[in-house]
């Protein structure tokens, strides 16, 4: 029997401050708050650069720093800064990992929003503009609903990465499922390490499956029976009066 199964089967590992439910809740708290803040920062920015097409390269390159720097290193760099702000425990065990996870989550969300918006048929947008839609209406009524699956795809990626990476908070006394891995490596207690890895993977896959369901729900489906539009009445074909030819050419298309 693999060692992690016996570890998980042990009821004492399921209660108390180091028990599985407590650690799962802690893990979801840190991951969820990081993804939430990343949404507040990355989503508006991604929608803006996706809608206007401006500043995309700069925004994406800057955002990608958050996932180019290894989170382990990022935490080490943030720690002295965090501790210089305050000496309460959360400046040690929460803030550095929260900042690193937010930095990790922003790039996929930003890039997902940008890519999703860029994929929307430009003709649709032009047509909407021609019909008098304002920019904000275009964004809300046309672009976002059509781009929604890709946007949620970016959120899925971000969430999965954050849940998997939030384990490293344990190095600086943070909670969450990473504690099983870090403590297990130091003791050493390899069954604990394995159980921790399995739990983190299960949590990540579980949350990802839920988000995949959300993604499917919001994917716009093509109408099954396109309504038959009535034929427009016959318009008698007369040559346009002289002098209006320029007008016709300007508006025709």
């Amino acid at each position: 029997m693999p060692s992690f199964i016996s570890w998980l089967a042990d009821p004492t590992h399921w209660n108390g401050p180091d028990g599985v439910p407590t650690r799962v809740v802690e893990h979801l708290q840190i991951s969820g708050s990081a993804v939430l803040v990343a949404l507040l920062i990355g989503l508006p920015l991604g929608l803006w650069i996706g809608h206007t097409g401006r500043g995309a390269t700069a925004a994406i390159n800057v955002a990608n720093i958050g996932r180019a720097i290894p989170s382990y290193a990022l935490i080490g760099m943030i720690l002295p800064i965090s501790l210089s702000i305050g000496s309460q425990l959360y400046w040690l065990s929460v803030v550095p990992v929260f900042v690193a996870m937010t930095a990790l989550a922003i790039p996929p969300i930003l890039v997902g929003a940008y890519a999703g918006l860029r994929e929307v048929d430009r003709d649709l947008i032009e047509a909407a503009r021609g019909m008098g839609f304002r920019e904000r209406q275009i964004l809300v009524a046309i672009e976002i609903p059509l781009a929604a699956p890709v946007i949620v795809g970016g959120i899925r990626t971000a969430t999965l990465q954050v849940i998997a990476t939030a384990t490293i908070g344990a190095i600086i006394s943070g909670g969450g499922l990473g504690r099983y891995i870090f403590d297990g490596l130091l003791l050493p207690d390899i069954p604990r390490v394995e159980a921790g890895a399995v739990l983190i993977a299960a949590l990540a896959i579980g949350v990802d499956t839920v988000l995949a369901g959300v993604q499917r729900l919001i994917t716009p489906r093509p109408p099954r029976n396109p309504a038959r539009t009535p034929e427009p009445p016959e318009v008698p074909r007369e040559p346009p009066p002289a002098g209006t030819r320029r007008l016709v050419r300007a508006t025709g298309g």
Binding site: G76, L79, P80, S84, S87, R179, D183, L186
Partner: protein
């Protein structure tokens, strides 16, 4: 377009070459060592001509952290000064990774902390008596890897240190670990996660009258940067550090005396393989060379050199050479 691509390829090549040739990687010196070891082999088969003694190449290993590399570098430079060719295989990992390599003969020599090194083979054996640790380790290593010697140990010790901030020490009049019991509830304890099962941690604290586990406890690994930073910031008020850790000098921490001698004496000694010593023309001189250097290494020296390397970011080879010159060992 083509110009920028050529430029990119050229820049990448330059960076790769620079990375390969910089730093203390073993790869470049491996080629250099091939010739001398062949020369040594031919010299050992032919009768040595008068006045020409070819010294064997010595492969020195070390652990991953700066202090182990520094010790190994010091021994390396002394041997090079005496005419040996040294292959540096530093940064092999933790003891659990490095020790099998020594036993298997992948390296000839490593610097070892004799208390912890003894504990690696026998958890119950280490004590606060350095000579006893040395002798017990020597006895065990005679039976490992075809025989490994433990040379003379340094006066310097790098062992687990119970550390508080200066303000905490003056507030509660703390100089020894025995002073902690009276004020234990007023402290936030930074303890490694394995403290519960580690007799050197929980066992030692209980010996000093600390109720274990303490109510206010933060889980941080001993001896590294986060626990030192947390102590400095005030998030914790007690930390397990290593006695030569630069942070102690850097932040002005106070190390409490281990008056009940709960921590093993971790003096440093080179471990040398017997099959390498068999190739050394004058074994006594070889050992004297290293023992002499070891005898000059004090804890204060390790602390100061540690600050040079880990805080002031000076190059390990330069720091080692400066110390050796200062001690007159490179004359």
């Amino acid at each position: 377009m083509r110009n920028s691509r050529t430029l990119a390829i050229g820049a990448t090549l330059v960076m790769v070459l620079a990375a390969c040739t910089s730093g203390s990687t073993p790869a470049p010196s491996a080629a250099a060592s091939a010739a001398p070891s062949q020369a040594a082999a031919s010299a050992s088969t032919a009768p040595a001509a008068a006045g020409s003694v070819t010294l064997p190449t010595v492969r020195i290993g070390s652990d991953n952290f700066y202090e182990s590399k520094l010790m190994a570098e010091i021994y390396a430079q002394i041997l090079e000064h005496a005419g040996y060719t040294v292959v540096r295989n530093f940064g092999l990992g933790s003891r659990a990774a490095r020790e099998p390599l020594l036993e298997q003969g992948q390296v000839d020599m490593v610097p070892e902390y004799i208390g912890s090194g003894l504990g690696y083979y026998d958890k119950t054996a280490p004590t606060g008596d350095a000579q006893s640790n040395h002798d017990k380790l020597a006895a065990i290593l005679k039976t490992k890897g075809g025989g490994i010697e433990v040379f003379g140990f340094t006066p310097a010790q790098d062992q687990n240190a119970a550390v508080v901030r200066k303000d905490t020490a003056s507030q509660y009049n703390l100089t020894r670990m025995s002073d902690l019991a009276a004020i234990q509830t007023k402290l936030v304890w930074g303890l490694p996660p394995d403290c519960d099962t580690n007799p050197l941690c929980s066992g030692a604290l209980r010996q000093y009258g600390i109720t274990y586990p303490p109510a206010q406890r933060v889980a941080l690994a001993a001896c590294d940067a986060p626990i030192a930073e947390a102590l400095h910031a005030g998030t914790i008020s007690f930390a397990w550090l290593c006695s030569t850790q630069p942070a102690i000098l850097q932040f002005g921490f106070v190390q409490l005396t281990d008056d009940l001698k709960t921590q093993p004496a971790d003096n440093i000694a080179p471990l040398v393989r017997d099959d390498f010593l068999a190739k050394v023309p004058d074994k006594a001189a070889f050992q004297a060379l290293l023992d002499n250097a070891s005898s000059k290494m004090t804890t204060a020296m390790l602390l100061q050199l540690g600050v040079d390397v880990a805080v002031n970011n000076q190059d390990i080879a330069t720091v080692a050479r400066n110390w050796l010159t200062q001690e007159g060992l490179l004359n």
